[in-house]
Symmetry: C2
Subunit: 405 residues, 2 copies
């Protein structure tokens, strides 16, 4: 029948009982006649425990050894899962990143997968054996163990699906699909049956932590059908695939938000060419990522410059900006790390006018002040005060008619 790559996240394999439940699901899938390969993350909080161990030993662990350490988390869960499968009469073999191998670049901590040697795995599947591959890790060109960053097991699964030319890559997690908004914030949020890669990228990038961003890009590039499913409850989940042009996409598919934002404003900078560069150059040099940017219209030869960074980078960015304003008499700096971003996302947006108007209208009706705006073809994002974000999400969810019927 079909060839399916299944990825189970840390919560899904978080205990011996969970591992048995997962083994049961995989054995059932195989008994239905499907070819199955599994990718698993480390058990529950084991990566955090390994990180803690590393910090006890070294304030700043050398990246090569940190990777060697962290990679053991997936080796443990995959060996246990292969044991549980064998116990059910479903032959299985675990493989770590060195074994296939999963070739990556040599950048420790955030390597990129360059290819998976799938010969062994293909032979296993042909022989009725379920290969169980450690997610999140691979082998550098020099033979060292690498990791591909947190959440990278999703990317491992997509890479394996590409290498196997699998029919579908199923990401099993603790949610049963992609929702029109976070159901913890919007009780009547609705599971989406299907979203496009682009929508998923915006939803994931805006804080819908269902899928790792890079895995979606990777799946989009290679046209892998991705499906998000719950490992706890049966159901069809959400299919993430190329857009079907015959279907009229809804104007807005979902409302995403995140609280990781911090906002900085430099007031009264001289209005001259190169000023934006002068502000952003030290930020870029410090490898701090800037998200939203706004410059107001100049007045009396002066401009105000606002941008957002991740909240973790707030203190460092503030220090850098203090130096910038010091160089310009009359300029001054303010910052706020109690802000949050929310976004309306939808492939239909590009063919519909009025989305922005409806968005601003519904926020105004709730007396929610919009601090910054950024737009893309399929998204309008706004920055609001953090304590207003949940109210804002609920307002937009209702304004765009996203609630369950």
């Amino acid at each position: 029948m079909a060839l399916i790559v299944r990825k189970y996240g840390g919560t899904s394999v978080g205990s011996a009982a969970r591992i048995h439940a997962v083994a049961g699901q995989v054995a059932t899938l195989r008994a239905q006649g499907h070819g199955v390969a599994v990718v698993a993350s480390a058990m529950g909080d084991s990566t955090d425990r390994l990180l803690d161990l590393a910090r006890q030993v070294s304030p700043q662990p050398v990246p090569r050894e940190l990777d060697a350490l962290l990679a053991t988390g997936e080796e443990v869960s995959c060996a246990l899962l292969a044991m549980a499968l064998n116990d059910r009469g479903c032959p299985a073999r675990s493989y770590n990143g060195l074994q296939l191998p999963v070739e990556t670049t040599g950048v420790h901590g955030r390597a990129r997968i360059t290819g998976i040697e799938a010969t062994t795995v293909k032979a296993d599947i042909a022989a009725g054996v379920v290969p169980v591959l450690t997610g999140f890790q691979g082998r550098a060109p020099d033979g060292s163990v690498t990791t591909i960053g947190r959440g990278g097991s999703d990317t491992s699964a997509v890479a394996l699906a590409v290498a196997l030319e699998a029919d579908e890559c199923q990401i099993l997690t603790d949610v049963d699909g992609v929702y029109t908004a976070d159901p913890r914030v919007v009780p009547d949020a609705r599971r989406l049956g299907r979203v496009s890669f682009e929508e998923m990228l915006e939803l994931a990038g805006q804080g819908s932590r269902v899928l790792h961003l890079r895995s979606v890009e990777f799946a989009a590039r290679y046209g892998v059908r991705l499906r998000v499913l719950s490992s706890f409850r049966p159901g069809p989940g959400t299919l993430i695939a190329t857009e079907e042009p015959q279907v009229e996409a809804p104007v807005v598919s979902g409302i995403a938000f995140n609280r990781d934002e911090a906002e900085l404003t430099l007031y009264g900078l001289p209005d001259r060419p190169g000023m934006a560069l002068e502000v952003l150059k030290p930020v870029a040099a410090a490898s701090i990522e800037v998200d939203m940017i706004a410059v107001n219209a100049p007045r009396d030869g002066r401009v105000d410059f606002t941008f957002t960074v991740h909240r973790d980078d707030y203190a460092r960015t503030l220090a850098l900006m203090n130096e910038v304003v010091a160089a310009h008499p009359g300029a001054n700096l303010s910052g706020n790390d109690r802000v949050a971003k929310l976004a309306a996302v939808g492939s239909g947006m590009r063919s519909h006018a009025g989305v922005a108007a409806r968005l601003f209208e519904s926020l105004a009706r709730e007396n929610i002040n919009v601090r910054l705006v950024s737009t893309s073809e399929i998204k309008i994002a706004v920055l609001v005060a953090e304590d207003e974000v949940e109210r804002a999400v609920r307002a937009l969810h209702q304004a765009f008619g996203l609630a369950a019927a």
Copy 2:
């Protein structure tokens, strides 16, 4: 200067603080100009914790996956040790069994090392980098992870010393050398400055749990100088090397003992050829190792047959022997798992008469009954009741003049 392989056991790397202490020792050795390669075991009780995890998932884990699971223990300790070394300005790189690789046979759980590819490690040492190799594990011919049995890290260290043609293989552990007897039983036991491989084999085999038996055989075969040192206290330790013929060996070097014995006696078996085989064949077929064996002189066409097995195998062996005696009317079976073995060991024994006499005399004086005897060229072993073994060890230690001067 010298090229040294150092092996640190589980207790030596049992915590972040211990790992720092070990890193300090290794860095000092390297700062003295020595070439150093390190082999490390898993931290403290981590192997037991992994075994426990496996048992939670599977009553009888498939051996291939159990090996993949257990191997992570050493990967963790070696990555942490390499971090700690780098933090001290001592460049270091960890390697697991797949990476060099450490080639082994494919028998999971008790693979044998067939060779270590030392190119990478040699290049590291030449470049001033300390390679840190995971003990206990290797790569099967099919690329699977293997383990070489508990305590096998000692063997890994010796194999690395062979591959590197190292000047010395130092086993750092929680004791500071090999003693004339267990100091917990014999308070005036004395550390031996040097023992021969043969003596060490008998001492280790009899229960002096300082070094893994196979590592000593391996070192003897390749003439590797082995040294047992404490990782907690400085000191010269005990050198285990080929015997120096010019030195007159003491008659007895040490008294070893172990409590792992169980004794079975089959009474009144027919005295005919093949009877011993009939008794031992089912034991061998069940992969149960027999240690001491005794057959008494036949009387009235009947013989009694006594042998010992490991205490863990006692119940299984008893069941097998019940079947044997059932086949012979008039025969019956008795067993005792409260017995212990002790042995006087010494290279000098082969050139000295009277050791057995002195041994029996001193045990008789203590009213200790000898149940079974076995001898080798450099050893006399006897079986006694378990509750008498400590008294017996102290009596022999004194009788052979082994106490510290």
